[in-house]
Subunit: 346 residues, 3 copies
């Protein structure tokens, strides 16, 4: 499509949009700025990529509201749009060129559905899907092949369960959720009581609840508790290989990156971001809007808005200082030994 | 049921049990102490939760042998039982109210079972289960849908294999084991020999052995070795997303929390506890009863009974000291610089 | 077989091979040196195991080119072969005794194959395999039960997909690859743009490419990007539970151990080794031949050939020094406090 058509389609979604009307290339696809070729659209966001305006061979760019970058693009003959959130507009632009695969409404004859299950309208149930007794499935749901749904689970409208994932008994999955391949929702929490004769298994009679709009990444595991609920709040997104222990309560609009692990009973507020491989200990509480950088080990409560790093976690500000000094420990140690000798000889 | 009936049913299982006979509420369910409502039973264990006796709305509590807490409960009109292990009795109480889902004995017509496989009595084999040649399955085994069992594996009596897990060739799984959804037992160890032409694959001719009473969490992976065995001892419990490398030997009654990873040839004694995200390097040995806290990185042998923390691991005692000082490094560094200047000017 | 026959069969594969011709035991199997019994072959490599020559009950050993060890073996009546790479020859010897399970060519009637899929010759498609439209599968491919292949994916010749793994849309898997059980290839990258109204989902229109000879461990996840490719180079090997984020580019002949996690857009050269639980931050670049030890946290670019450790990563050399001093921080802190008092009193 013409660049001008693209601008016309994106304008209604943008907070504010400026553009150069004099260049109007044909745009046939979307690419990353360092790989873009002629007739593709790309975007620039952040200082790290700003220098790419001078190098990219994209025919069109989504730029921040930065006159300097816009002038550079103009001088290089690159059509541009300016917006406060280039990455967001890039995501919107992808939707104009890409239609994700979605299976047709159908129930495969090789799906095994208990007669007591309640199945909504316009659903897709792939081959090898197994639905146990008492399950309720909403409208417009897509369940890919070889997914297993244990008894009494409920799946909300428009939710997608990708291939080979498993939904355990009594799980409640909301509307518009996506459970990616291999994820396991609502399996037994790790509940063993130590006794003189070894571990005594505590039955996990609770359930796991995912509110509307939750996404769970591939091969992630969200356990259910002995009593009560494990709950993940509305629109919270989890990446791959994340572990959520029994009784955790996660708020809304959080993002947990790959390989994050929460022990039991962790409470997380809204809009919290945990980067990759973060671990959180039993019963820790994390306030709204807190951020933990990669590999952080959280053992204590974190206040709302705090940014933490390190294991055990400290404020990110302190962590950066300490990390810089850390490298100088050998030098400090030499001085320390010299001082000790001096002290000794006084 | 009446509280007095509950006490009567739990008494035979308890080491010692005291109670107040004057209060006898109807108990209809079990809840966590901070969420409990009228007519539910809950429990208190540990200092952290002791203050909940004054706040909970539970009608009955399992309490430790603590006169003060018992008096508090009494004064608030809460029926109570006293026992040295409240959490254990809570687990026993759950069993009186909750019957975990267990599928009926049956072999689904959509299970694919090789004619050479030996299948015990009273088994459940769900739809989509695939049993390869030479497999032996004991009595009272439950294999949920879409589990795949490779050739020559053996599955002991009463063992449960949850949906979508995979048991590889020659694996020996004992009696009373539980393999949770998505776990992979006995796949090829990561054996590649570096050569001038790249990696040379070492065939993994060994097998994985799980002794009786082992539980393996969701999506955990227990590899088999090139020669010999990978072995997990009796009643050892593994949480989700745990990796056990080829040739590891784990003793009895251990507990490995989520996302723990053992490299190849690690030897672990009995009753060892590894908290979440702990990593153990090749060939390291860990003695009986040792404990490693979350995210510990173990590169050397750990003695029996030791408690370790940090990466690289040190004794927990030293770790706590060092972690406290860690935060003061910027302050120390300022003083260090001042001293260096002083030394230089002498 | 006789030891002499073993030597004859291994000789053509060895760079150089010496042996003692006077001992010629019958060899019936292969075992690890510390477990070996009579009539088995084992190997010794590295200082750690050298002392086992004096203890092992193996009848034959593959030894390094070390006269001393060879003499010791000779004196104990152990037949031996000497080679510069004992472990490599041990791997070659396993091939003479062990034939890995390989299913017969067949398409199971319970496999569900879209009529538009192109299937090569001599393939194995197990029960419960689901092949979506537009998929291309090469010759001599083995796809184990309950694997799901989404639309338009391609699978190269001789590639093996183990049970319960999932290959997502447009993935390109080369020849001679092995995808282990439960792995998920080409699922949606974790792409969410923060907005005032919560996360905006960025569609992942790109694909994942695995070049020839790649192995992906059990339950590992390799995401596809919003645009462009996630690519893993020829003969690179990944262990279990590894996460590769969208747009990562990994070179040839790398090895990534279990539970490694790469965030988005990471670039890794050739022959890079990442030990267990290493994490790499967004957009970091790692040069050819670099090595990171277990649990390293990489936030910045790493030069070719560098060895790094720690979180945040520093050179391995510095890390070893710092780790040694780390344990002395309490002692340093005592001195520091004394000095501070002295400075204050001056």
């Amino acid at each position: 499509m013409k660049f001008s058509d693209l601008v016309a389609q994106l304008s209604p979604q943008a907070n504010s949009l400026t553009t150069n009307r004099d260049l109007n290339p044909e745009i046939t696809g979307i690419m990353a700025v360092h790989e873009a070729v002629a007739n593709t659209l790309s975007y620039i966001e952040g200082d790290k990529f700003a220098s790419m305006v001078a190098k990219t061979t994209a025919s069109a760019l989504i730029l921040p509201l930065d006159k300097n970058l816009q002038t550079q693009a103009q001088e290089r003959g690159i059509a541009w749009m300016g917006t406060p959130q280039p990455r967001l507009m890039f995501a919107q632009a992808i939707n104009l060129f890409y239609q994700p695969f979605h299976p047709s409404v159908s129930v495969h004859p090789a799906a095994v559905i208990d007669s007591s299950a309640v199945i909504g309208e316009n659903v897709y149930l792939g081959a090898g899907v197994v639905i146990y007794p008492g399950v309720k499935i909403g409208d417009d749901v897509s369940i890919y092949p070889n997914v297993v749904v244990y008894p009494e689970a409920t799946i909300g409208d428009r939710t997608i369960l990708h291939a080979n994932c498993t939904i355990h008994e009594r799980s409640q999955i909301g509307n518009d959720c996506v459970i990616h391949s291999g994820a396991v929702i609502g399996a037994e929490g790790f509940g063993f009581v130590p006794t003189g004769e070894g571990w005594y298994k505590m039955q996990q009679s609770g359930c796991t609840v995912l509110e509307d709009g939750v996404e769970i990444g591939c091969n992630s595991t969200i356990d259910r508790p002995a009593v009560g609920e494990t709950r993940i709040g509305k629109n919270t997104k989890l990446d791959n290989l994340v572990h959520i222990g029994h009784n955790c309560q996660i708020g809304q609009n959080c993002a947990l990156a790959a390989q994050v692990g929460l022990a039991g009973g962790v409470k997380i507020g809204n809009r919290v971001i945990l980067a990759g491989q973060v671990g959180v200990a039993n019963q820790a509480k994390i306030g709204d809007g807190a951020i933990a950088s990669a590999q952080t080990g959280i053992h204590h409560d974190i206040k709302a808005g705090e940014a933490v790093s390190g294991s055990p976690s400290v404020s990110n500000k302190l962590y950066l200082k300490v990390s810089a000094i850390y490298k100088r420990l050998p030098e400090m140690y030499q001085t320390f030994k010299q001082i000790k000798r001096n002290l000794g000889s006084q």
